[in-house]
Symmetry: D3
Subunit: 171 residues, 6 copies
């Protein structure tokens, strides 16, 4: 087994131009197209951490507060926030720019999880992730709570066992 | 304002064939492509309920447990489960079939929310939804709890105020 | 050989949103794109009847009387109307809706035929089809005449031998 | 009104490479994709004859006898065969080549009809077509019969009035 | 080894309709899409000359002087101008037409080079090309100079050894 | 007129996954697809420098020495190297990675030029570029020579006047 890796080692930047077929009747980027891009950029981050083929395991709640317009440049930045046995959580930040208008906005963030698999689709172990910056450590620490919430929502953990999530609602 | 509508009135079925460009190195449907289809089918359901243009507001946690193969037929069924002031929650069920092999499997479910908007993107009121079958009533009742969870996760509600979600973790 | 099947067993519904790249200079859906969708939905119906890989054998005359607009929701419904030795005739109905405007119209219908084949492309026998409703029986009965017309138009039958078609023009 | 035009004036050649997403599970070009290409090449031919925007009015029976393979080069040649008041019939011939294997085959032919329209979609008159070669004259003469058959199949002419078609079946 | 071939033997014509997704914010065809089409049409020409699989080796300087509009018909004509040991130079001419407006313009020309390869990607010998018309002979003769320039620009030949190019700048 | 900008201000990173439809019969990325991506990433860089709409003016000679495989991750990095009156030269570096295999390779570089235009397509002045690092200064200095070569190749400058290019071939 190789050694642990930093967040830095899995960072990926992806840039897309919003074309007519990506938009709805209001000329806004469709949410589904954005999630498609999020899936690709985060899969590449998970590949980089694991040096392995990966498959999407889950996506956490995403909200779409700001419309993104036709012709905007969309920048997606992703990196692995925590590695579990054979799975990885990836954090994605999305920024939209109308460059001629000089406008730029952070529009979304999301968490996707991936599982490293062999060619037959069987899970494979991945190396540990060691967070470094303050923000990376915060994301690393929150990963356990998000993981419990995922398991509860997928009905694979009883709510009463989700200690991390419970503490969130109790104060 | 028109009267209330049933779930039936917004039901949509969409069928897609998994083509090479929809797949990853393992010849499995990429999660991002599936979410793209989910977004389109559920937007149509929300259009049908509101008779209005709609924009994606959020997507709840989705898990991808079963791989879907190249050449499979994917059927997505969607309907509105509850209408709030100008927003709607839509439930989507996904089934994948390898028809020549006679195999069929329910692979995913998801909740998307949409907001009805006018041509300038300003929210518009939508008619109420009245659930009828047992399953529809269960989904309707759960909608409040899912909505609180969305607001908490989007940091627009304090966890301690999310009464419906709290009760889930307390027993 | 498995037993006969009903029309019901092969029914497929497909829903598509008309996007910018699907349209011509008048913002109308291009006929070629609609035929592409018809081919996919009817191939799935033929797969369902035969539980087999299928290839398109022919398409009958289609007319495009009503323009379908950018942003419309197009619903295609298909089912097998009659099975011959290794071929199947599929009937497709197309409906277009401008949901915000509350407009809906049946725009086209078409007949496609498919052949069930093995992995080397060699024809394979398919099960019989038993029509049930009045409409299904009418389509089943008309299938022989349409088949003769296809053979005549493909120059694989002499017009004078096409008894079913001849009777149509004689009275 | 401009003068009459020859078939030559509307001739168009289109060449396409069969890519993975154009093919079915057998690695054969899907019929729907081929019809999509046929629609584009024949619309351009009708534009050239009418110097006008055109919309697809109908497609005649097409049969798909020869499979076309992934990687093949598909050549579509189209020209207008006859002009009616505001509509035009276009003939399309399709050839598929496996160039490295030195194989080439004429795989399909088809007739599409188009209507010349103004920006509001209202039909506009088109110039006459004068056929020149023997083959062009034969196609020009057959156009009346194919037109009657189209009208009968679209239920816009009584079979008993379709004199040209009747004569085909009577001898 | 087969005999020499003429330019005629590799001529290919490709026709494309400029669709919304091919255009930028000004509704002009994006340069990158045009180069994509140029690559396909010239690869087919090189396939025809070599009766072999080919891979793109280089593209020469292209300038984009004339904007091409949404809805225009783009015609690309390509043929091999000279064959070297296992590589071929292909010349491409691009014409854009706004058919309803009766406008047509030669917008670009380009030179692409290809290498004939076997299934493992190893270069294979190709037959000689014999130019016939005056224009073909001129292109054939210029091919050596363009080849030296390519080698210099790719840093695979010293500028001082590029006799053909040098003579161009000396007088 | 705003002040001068650094190369840094226009840097863009784009990441693409090579999908089946991007590849030829050898499962290698087609050159035309890569150029399409190069055009988008460099147009965004030119937009960033000029804060304006831009159109592609030219592309310099590109060579494709290394095949890029299906499933590879392609990273394109672009920045403006020099601004002229209303045009900009952009440098693009392409890297391909087979992440599971741990292989990574710099495969191509290219120069594209863009013109900043207003909504009617009329050229607009752009701010100056001030190079900083050694590499940026080298690219800045070479830009004049590349510009002369472009003008000579586009037949808009006499070879004998291209002093910068001449000196390259003289020593």
């Amino acid at each position: 087994m190789k050694e642990a890796k930093s967040c830095e080692a899995s960072r990926v930047t992806m840039t897309e131009l919003v074309l007519p077929n990506d938009t709805n009747t209001l000329n806004n980027l469709m949410g589904g197209r954005l999630m498609h891009w999020m899936d690709i950029v985060s899969a590449i981050a998970a590949q980089k951490h694991s040096n392995n083929i990966v498959v999407t395991a889950s996506v956490d709640n995403i909200s779409f507060a700001q419309p993104i317009q036709l012709g905007d440049v969309v920048t997606l930045k992703a990196f692995v926030t925590r590695a579990f046995s054979s799975s990885m959580e990836v954090y994605i930040e999305v920024m939209a720019e109308n460059i001629p208008a000089g406008e730029s906005e952070r529009t979304n963030s999301a968490f996707f999880t991936f599982v490293a698999v062999d060619k037959k689709g069987k899970p494979k172990k991945v190396v540990e992730l060691i967070p470094e910056s303050e923000k990376e450590i915060e994301l690393f620490n929150g990963a356990l709570r998000r993981r419990q919430l995922r398991l509860v929502l997928a009905k694979r953990m009883k709510p009463s066992d989700a200690e991390e999530v419970k503490s969130l609602f109790m104060d």
